[in-house]
Subunit: 368 residues, 4 copies
């Protein structure tokens, strides 16, 4: 209930603070028999690693994952998989007056109101983006479960600092190889300019991430409160810095007519009762792959709005724990945008949600 | 797990199909001692009633709610509150070939893929918007729980058919008295024109709903997976026809700089450890009232994108249960837009989410 | 969280008070395609009906169940199944001073401490055994789900008023046809004598119920906190009047040696990876059909201790809501023992637990 | 859903195998502000340590607990508390043919049926009693939460190898200082004899543990499926080797008359609406401190039946993974009885259950 767990059949619990001993997670409900080793996980984790890409600071964290349980002789055993990442650099540091003031746009004020005066202020504590390393690690396992069914999840940046890629120019497939995990070849150059300008101004940038899941079988998601898009929205909006979520046409659908927004079904063999059919089944995909809360067999298409990072280099007005006005200049090494590091996180949350829905659906199949 | 329940401490379970015997819900976890009668609930339910407003069809459903349990001598007892709404008009009807074909943009295909050949196709069955009547009924109880703490939830239409109210012109307070539950006095006249045009074309419209919650104490929401915005996104996206969700600046935040998006804190007395402070505490509210997943004491501001209703009067291409191409013209009486009837539903889901977070927070208070 | 729900995949929520409008339940998670009609449920419900058997009072309640949702054309649709039983006799009655005093051995004091002064005291309100009618109704559906896999649940009385059936004489199969749902043909005559004596003394009796589940496949239950015996204990101990629970040898195992209590495995083909083998696989069944929290394929054997009914006809000492001493003589029509009416309830709870474990196990099967 | 978690508000998730890298747990939902250090936990853990007491083997495991998260400057922060115990002795060993055969009375067969051929057979893997070290560690935190309200949990051995302490001779308070955590001063000497005899015979012993919780406020537990005794039964029966559970008179109640079993209430001031009153409020405590599923303010009294350890030194008949008959002699160092090491585990599970119920009750208090 304290909200550090996510999922129903495949259930993830994360723990750890940014500058504590370490952080990690327990992933419960992974079926026995999945081949798994640390390298499978490290690979995804490295994509979230700091110090990479044009918007990054130059910190260096190795983020080596260790499997503590649940794997035996290279395969999962069906018992909980605990993953651990030690925080390597725990020297006592000077945190200045971070314990005493509330940084604008950060979780400081929220934590103070919720938990009172006991707050691990070091590097953001539990509210730090570092918590998401555990999600990415678990997401790598979810991704392996999905891959067995041929399902893949791709995420890419489609807008940064107000400069968007045209819908027609979006190419998801090569994103992991491009700077910013960009959804087109030519976007990075345009974004470099706005990044340089923001860096000079001591400011930060937001952007938009597009996520697609391919080959998702029809029938996932529950029809009322646990509609697939509701579960995905929960997952995506649980990532710090995300301020908006869309499926299919999203806010654009509000301006369409029904005749424009409906996706006609096309003739063809239906396969099994819970058969799929994929994109060939429909003339279009305004819905984003979900009908009535249930996957339709089409590509699932999501978008997430990412706010600019709150830690700007400019002086800001704020208050201290006595309620007195004060100024703050946030030093230290901070990324200029949550993009691209947030992209593997959003991808992981999508994979975890779909793997959970897939495992749950197994038992929902109509009675023989 | 089948997803017909929502909430943790205050937990709602709905049941019933559009053309079955009746529909209803069980609301578990409501504290003892709340004054409650059927009229308290009927009042909200009447706002969702069909046959009202410019976008409505002319159907007539009474939707009388009955309290079956959990209330004794006018007060809740702490036991489950069961609410029931009989479906009044259950004569056998001619459902044409609805059992045999999949209507574009509807849940038909999803249900078929998930549940196989057993599907209550009558009037949309469980996927019908009628299910939301149970949510509105339960939401009325949540609203009473919130009102005891001075918390209110308001929802209003801010865009219809592509015609939006300017941000500066938005006035939430009078919305319940206006056609379309509009957020300004002059919007209805502009919307009447686009509605008339769509009706003539046999088409339907989408729109955007804005929701605000006032006087929410700081400290609600859990910091990781159950961030308050994640719970609210889950709640709002679980309503059929909603395709997008925003908190605060939403997608707009993606184009802002950190220096523009951060909300400076203003000096003043802090009150208790979990003290609030409301809007006076901040110089702006780009965050939408949530910081680090936790309510900040400011007004919570959400937006939901509502797609155009799928049941259009035009002929559409689709397939039947054998996978053969066919045409469909949806007859019967259908609304032209989910707005305004969806607005009390979104308001109810917001109230249920906040009441649940409020009850949960009680036990999260820091140890003495 | 308020505890009116049970189960994970197959989840039951009950509602209603003894002398309210009616009572019922929502059973969520039943797979689509199960044939189901009201008569299937009524049959089990009639076994719990008051006014039957040697320990019963002469009340007459029809307890007609009505299916409100989730079934279409005689089959379940995968949506929530709501069941309702109207309380037929709701005339205003004279409840004497029941609102003002606490009956010894009843829930009155507990409810008062928990919920404060708002308590539906009429006929025990929510704490009445009447709540279990909803469990029996839902249990009938669970039983149908189990029957499809060949699994059956039997329950019978093995001791009443201190007079026990010898282990060797226990015959579970004919119990439903015997008075007291007795586990032997000759027990009822012996129990008649002790019942007559207790009735004369204005007193009540306790007893012991034995429950067996046959043909349960190996592999059900989760190995740590949700061991199958832990789930069954939760289920059985949640029935009012049950004070003890045993699996297999139970308390008797505390006095055995390991060499006596271990069940040797016998040679024979193993079948599939999750293959069963039943009782033929083991030389004995001291374990009661569960090993390491997981069903072994053997018969599951449970025992429940049932206390004597608290409503005795003798004058008792108690206190009123001011804390003052007072006497109470409980009038009205009360059973002399929870047996036999509690037996269908224990059977239903066992069936619900096993059906839930069965549906959950579907997705735990080792990865291909 | 895979059952490695327990609790609702205070939720424990354990992980780890007997001979893996290490084991541990995440305790989520502990309120902020509780003073906590590793020594607080180690103290309880040392009571479960192997190599102690008359029934123990001579293994030596240090079981040093490490707090990985959730504590800052000596106090809990409200974020998840991760605890870790490294397995110190992980050299590659000779596990003989443990991978190939099923030991009678052990979880081997159950795991094989559930998870298939992938099973960490080393030292029992996940099914080992070692998993309970994590429960004891978390239980120490629960105990600290309870102590703040003056609540204490005591557990003691009341029977071993068939030799029971007379009810009148039971003294719970000194148990932790006595061999076997015995409930009387003179029992250990009698038990020494039966232990010596069993050891000589290469056999093992069972016993009975009594648990009492003092100063539990009235009002904990939920009245239907989550009755306090149902939650406690779930907790206690989830510990391996436990085969029976009783509250209050337990199975003894089945032989009592209502007039004997009812606990009369005694006059005296009632205190607040949810006021307690403790044992002074009742003339007796046959109920064991729970009425209608809700704590009454009296001492909570439980009993657990513990089976003899399955790993006996005698040759046993069993089968291998091909279903062929084989013999097994279990070597290695094994305890002769789960008592006394299981006693801190049962105490921990009781403390976790009560702390969870206490935190949940906070939000159930009647509305003002």
């Amino acid at each position: 209930m304290a909200g550090n767990s996510f999922g129903r059949i495949l259930r993830l619990t994360t723990f750890g603070e940014s500058h504590g001993v370490g952080l990690g997670c327990v992933l419960d409900g992974c079926p026995a028999g999945l081949e798994l080793c640390e390298a499978d996980i490290q690979c995804d984790l490295d994509r979230r690693k700091p110090g990479q890409g044009p918007t990054a600071t130059k910190r260096k964290e190795a983020d080596r994952v260790q499997i503590l349980s649940g794997v035996f002789e290279g395969r999962t055993t069906g018992t909980p998989i605990a993953l651990y990442i030690a925080n390597e650099d725990q020297r006592s540091r000077d945190y200045g007056n971070l314990a005493e003031i509330f940084r604008p746009g950060q979780a400081d004020w929220g934590y103070f109101c919720k938990y009172g005066d006991v707050r691990d202020y070091r590097g953001g504590g539990r509210a730090s983006g570092r918590e998401t390393a555990a999600r990415v690690a678990a997401g790598a396992i979810a991704r392996k479960l999905l891959a067995r069914q041929g399902i893949s999840v791709l995420a890419a940046c489609v807008a940064l600092g107000g400069i968007a890629i045209e819908p027609d120019a979006i190419d998801m497939d090569g994103a992991l190889e491009r700077p910013y995990f960009a959804a087109s070849d030519d976007a990075p150059a345009r974004w470099d300019a706005v990044v340089a300008e923001a860096r000079k101004a001591g400011d930060t940038l937001g952007g938009i991430v597009r996520i697609v899941a391919r080959n998702v079988p029809a029938g996932l998601g529950e029809p009322v409160f646990d509609k697939l898009e509701a579960l995905l929205a929960h997952a995506i909006m649980s990532v710090g810095a995300v301020k908006g979520f869309e499926v299919g046409e999203g806010f654009g659908a509000a301006g369409l007519r029904g005749s424009q927004n409906n996706d006609p079904l096309l003739p063809g063999p239906l396969g099994g009762a819970a058969g799929s059919g994929g994109d060939a089944r429909f003339a279009s995909n305004h819905a984003g792959g979900i009908l009535g809360g249930i996957s339709s067999g089409q590509e699932i298409v999501l978008r997430a709005a990412v706010k600019p990072i709150a830690s700007i280099a400019q002086e800001q007005q704020t208050i201290d724990k006595q309620g007195n006005a004060t100024k703050i200049v946030i030093g230290g090494r901070h990324d200029l945008a949550a993009i691209p590091r947030i992209i593997p996180v959003l991808s992981a949350m999508t994979a975890l949600t779909l793997a959970d829905a897939l495992l749950l659906q197994k038992r929902m199949e109509p009675a023989g």
